[in-house]
């Protein structure tokens, strides 16, 4: 881990996981009327743990250090509150609420990152 990565902490990976979660929720909302579609969501803890673990160790110069977050990490099927006739497990109000929360979470992570970066700028400028 180099110095800048250490300064930014867990937040870059967290941002990655949060944006994946938003993508999954967008898929759920898009498929709210698709027969037999099963809603999915990210288990944040598992996904973040995976994102941190799968980073490959760079032992040689020229090694690619960071591994991409794969699509399957921490993704699970949602258990619906009610069953529907067409086999669809998307509950639109649940998805809407989760999407709002995911957007707020994303902004929170962004704020943390912003603070870290502005801190680094201050250190560089020596103000």
């Amino acid at each position: 881990m180099n110095l800048i990565d250490r300064a930014l902490g867990v937040h870059p990976q967290a941002l990655e996981v949060r944006s994946r979660r938003m993508e999954l929720l967008a898929q759920n909302i898009a498929n709210a009327d698709t027969p037999n579609f099963k809603a999915r969501d990210v288990d944040f803890r598992a996904a973040l743990a995976d994102a941190r673990q799968t980073a490959l160790a760079a032992t040689q110069p020229g090694h690619v250090r960071e591994a991409e977050l794969t699509a399957k990490d921490g993704v699970m099927y949602r258990i619906p509150f009610n069953v529907s006739f067409d086999g669809n497990t998307v509950e639109l109000n649940v998805e809407q609420a989760q999407y709002g929360k995911a957007a707020a979470d994303y902004q929170a992570t962004l704020n943390f990152l912003e603070q870290r970066i502005s801190g680094m700028r201050k250190a560089l400028k020596g103000e």
Binding site: L15, R20, A26, A30, N31, D33, A103, Q107, L110, E114
Partner: protein
């Protein structure tokens, strides 16, 4: 970056909901259409959606992965009404015409559902756009 895909996903949903709105408009417009035989009578159309899955996407459609598309447009199987109207030029030899099986109530409900889903996806696009803009601003602080 996964956030790029959200525009494709929500866009595909907007497209699908618009197709649904179109079939509703067509059904409502043809609610009063009569036919000269049971086969010719207008039948309400329904769109059936399908998720765009990983295995089925062409490389060019990779942005729509996880989105939705219109799988089929099916006829409503409910029976058509038959009324006696001997004066109608379309009437068969017994003086019957065949009305469409469009149920206006169902169509209005369908229209509301489609427009709500459309709004939902517009909201998804708006939120995502704002977040992306904020992400761009991250180094400016």
């Amino acid at each position: 970056m996964p956030m790029d895909n959200i525009f494709g996903i929500a866009g595909s949903a907007l497209n699908a909901q618009m197709a649904r709105m179109n079939t509703v408009a067509s059904n409502l417009a043809n609610a009063g259409t009569v036919g000269g035989s049971e086969k010719d009578a207008f039948r309400a159309k329904r769109t059936v959606f399908k998720a765009v899955l990983e295995q089925q996407t062409k490389p060019s459609d990779v942005n729509y992965q996880g989105g939705v598309k219109v799988d089929a447009v099916r006829d409503d199987p409910s029976p058509v009404r038959k009324v006696s109207d001997p004066g109608n030029p379309l009437a068969d030899k017994d003086g019957f015409v065949y009305l469409s099986n469009v149920n206006e109530m169902n169509e209005m409900v369908e229209m509301m559902a489609a427009s709500r889903s459309y709004q939902n996806n517009v909201e998804v696009v708006n939120t995502t756009r704002q977040l992306m803009l904020r992400t761009l601003d991250i180094t400016r602080s």
